[in-house]
Symmetry: C2
Subunit: 348 residues, 2 copies
Amino acid sequence: MSSILDNLEWMSELDRERMIDQINGFPDHLSSSLCTEVDVEFTGKGICLCGMGGSAISGDILADCVIRESEYHMSVLRGMELPGWVDKETLLIAVSYSGNTKEVLTVLDTAQSKGLNIVAVTSGGRLMEICEEEGIPYAMVPTGFQPRAALGYLLGSTACILETAGVIPIASNLTHLVDPLKKFQEILVPEVPIEENLAKRTALDLEGVVPVVYSASELSPAALRWHTQINENSKMMAFTGEVPECNHNHIVGWMEGSMDTFCRPVFLRSRTDNPSIKEIMSVTIDVLKEGGKSPVVLDFNEETKIHNLMAAIMVGDFVSYYLAMLNGVDPLPVESIQDLKRRMSSSI
Amino acid sequence: MSSILDNLEWMSELDRERMIDQINGFPDHLSSSLCTEVDVEFTGKGICLCGMGGSAISGDILADCVIRESEYHMSVLRGMELPGWVDKETLLIAVSYSGNTKEVLTVLDTAQSKGLNIVAVTSGGRLMEICEEEGIPYAMVPTGFQPRAALGYLLGSTACILETAGVIPIASNLTHLVDPLKKFQEILVPEVPIEENLAKRTALDLEGVVPVVYSASELSPAALRWHTQINENSKMMAFTGEVPECNHNHIVGWMEGSMDTFCRPVFLRSRTDNPSIKEIMSVTIDVLKEGGKSPVVLDFNEETKIHNLMAAIMVGDFVSYYLAMLNGVDPLPVESIQDLKRRMSSSI
């Protein structure tokens, strides 16, 4: 089988700004940020992480761990208005890779006026300036990445904040995963041919369709990451859904609709999925197959939920990269986001 | 302009089981359930509503009101596992229209074993039996509807539970809206011709595409309701997104992708949207228009957020009905959901 996905020279020409290096760097970025020290004090019950796009995904990953493994409540705010339950006992984590995300700066302003307990994660920009001026503790991550490609840094730093705050020992758990993730990455890189490369094969399965990425709640941050990475790296539409909720509505669109031929379902399964939901997912996949929908199914069989979540995210990042190659687009630039940001600065 | 959407006889033949009556009944259903009396005691800080599909949407609407207008935390659980923050001080509201939703019964079982403070909303089934056996207070809603068409009843009853519990005076607020909503409905019904009927015109705009329904957080429960009603009533794929998050990822799929021609963006705007987000949404719509994407834009200009939310939900319900007519399908049956439910009972 001959494909551009095994043509390293061609891929290298298309990927002019070496997005592949940023994707390959994930385990190293994670590793290097897992020793971040930030001076956080926290005695409350709730955590609110505010961030947008690539800066918010680390929040989703960690909120999911916090909600399952601790008695703390944690939510991710993608917007401008603090929920009513956020009070002086809440830890507000402001995450903006660039440091200039309007939404995050707006929330920070409100949070300061309310005297909240704040900590930040950024590579610089206005957010860092405010932290310096106001004495707000912050974790510094390296500059020079696309925000979406800084996930390893943002995740590692935020994990350290949560561990220092006494919420959950997630930084320690992630530290143990760095080597296994590096090992896992070896089978996803461009040098590994299609036959042995899960990410390349999956990209070929999703060429020319709109992927709809499903998972149980175990892997829902990974499903969302697939969606946004396919949007930004591959320049494609993509959507997500969650099992079992999708069986109460989406399934009608797949099985009784006519537009489904432009879309293809992808299922991310974790060994640690709830056993009942595993069964439901299995039946759902069977129903879709019998209906001729050709679902793409990926199994993650590691021992822990966080390991499977990290692995699923890594596969998705590589899939989005290979889809960019199949689409003949440079994965790094996101001109339409830049255009919107320019217009926002002039209009608001 | 001649269209089947103005052919009442033809629509009546297609809608064999009179889904139109269930949709038309929304304000009356809401009204009749707003005097529900349930014996709830609550002194905690958090509320967890568990439900799936049509039974969960009332939770989304109310959680959004609670989060903005009170110091309580409320989340909607669409799944089987209670979050770690749920404790004896949490009010668990179990909502299953049929009373036999597996996910809700599973959560209820865990909640009972943990000794949580529980209240239920149902039309009967196993959930009602358990409540009777165990002395769990519950609100009874009428049988005989599709779960998605019982929204008025589920919303009204759950609002009464939250008001009785001292969380938020939302039942009183909804009572004031019943008459205005009945008035508003008069311009959406099948008897009103296309030229004067916003829902018919919108359905025509969405014929043959995959609608992607956007809103700010103000109307996000309405966007989700559009999505699921279009799935179930119209037998079509549909998706949602939220502004401003979509500008950090989705926009690339729309502006730089190739599959966007099968999809069409819909924007639900509320007069009560945050002013900065209004500006962002306006710029986003301009960008999509300049890119030739023809977004469908609907404005809801009432004084309050909850009024606009109810109005947006009503328009969406009628749009999904008219789309069913345009697709030549009976809006009521959802055979693929029934099929999955049958298979679930045998496999789990």
